[in-house]
Subunit: 227 residues, 2 copies
């Protein structure tokens, strides 16, 4: 299996939140995979997929893109491996949590961290990233990041349901993590791999859970390069 | 088993969102129960529990309060009945969704509907409700409800993760509902039982799911009295 993921280029930061979900899902399933770095401005390696975004996987000649679609593919194609959803009744809950993570964590943090991402990129990628993201944000990356020390306090308040649920157990999945944990961890690992700005409150249940997530699979996520 | 729940009094509206979660959970488990109506200003029926809120249950001499605690009690006490969480791996996900429902659905809708609730109550309960809730809201119930036609449009946008997850399957639990569905349905059933103000968008996946939830157990929720 090949996993096509995003790299910053020469300095090789690997921060895609969507890819981190799938890296941990592949480890969860115990599947062997090869990581293939791509760039914002060079996605030719997975052109045959027809997709424009990472993660994209190629498995036995089959191409699948989008982190949720890949999670479902892995669960359905490898049903005898450890379940990502904890059985069929967990798939919908995991999907909801995946979508909430996209909106309430990743999209909420993006304005605070986009300028830090841009600083990691090669000139060509940085130009592409700045142009497309400033159009999306409706302001410069630096304007978006200004006041983030205040914005992050409001962000942390919105995490109350997650904070409360994680205060009651080691992982959202209980004694061990499932895909819902990976879906939530992706944006936090992205934040960690693209910036030194701390998005979580020290001493919070989410911060403690993040440490446990970083320890999984011989510290796969902890070993990732940070700025 | 006795289930202590809230009633509006003489006209007997039963709108507690927390109670609706447990009514459906009891049906899910196939357990027999007696519904005991109480009032905002008369909770003497479950005084031995020491609790001040509904739902409270008494089961084999044991008292349990709080909808999440009761769901966990039912799951653990009656493990041979159909699972509310779809196995142990689903409990944390269901807890997160329960908490998200409290915050993102119930708390978000409360200002829009509190005046409608007050109008259903007996004078003594209405006085208690108005006094305590206006203090909590920091404004009159009528002020809180003003502009709700606009506020509800923003509310519907915040439901995007739920809308998307429910567009992909009949229930969040998949082909059949689990506790996560009941946790989410509670506030929507509360809205329906205390007001004619429509909180969901016509034609949305959530609205279609609500219809399926209303049909469960011979239309238990659909038969509930509305204003």
């Amino acid at each position: 299996m090949k996993l096509f993921e995003l790299s910053s280029g020469a300095r090789d930061y690997r921060f895609s939140p969507f890819v981190w979900r799938i890296l941990l899902a592949l480890e969860h399933k115990g599947l062997a995979y090869e990581r293939v770095p791509c760039r914002f401005t060079d996605k030719s390696a997975f052109a045959p997929s027809g997709a424009q975004t990472v993660p994209t996987i190629e498995d036995e000649g089959k191409w699948v893109s989008d982190s949720w679609a890949i999670a479902c593919y892995l669960e359905d194609r490898y049903p005898d491996r450890p379940s990502l959803f904890g059985g069929e009744s967990g798939r919908g809950m995991a999907h909801f949590i995946h979508l909430w993570s996209d909106r309430a964590i990743l999209a909420a943090l993006f304005p605070m961290l986009a300028a830090d991402i841009c600083a990691l990129l090669e000139p060509e990628d940085a130009h592409y990233f700045r142009t497309t993201r400033e159009k999306r944000l409706g302001r410069t990356l630096e304007e978006a990041a200004s006041g983030r020390e205040t914005a992050v306090l409001a962000f942390r308040q919105t995490l109350w349901p997650l904070e409360t649920a994680l205060a009651a157990r080691p992982f959202l999945g209980g004694d061990k993590p499932y895909y819902a944990d990976y879906a939530l961890f992706g944006p936090f690992q992205w934040a960690r791999c693209c910036s030194r700005f701390e998005v979580l409150e020290d001493g919070s249940a989410i911060a403690a859970w993040r440490e446990r997530m970083l320890d999984l699979h011989d510290g796969l996520a902890r070993r990732a390069q940070r700025p």
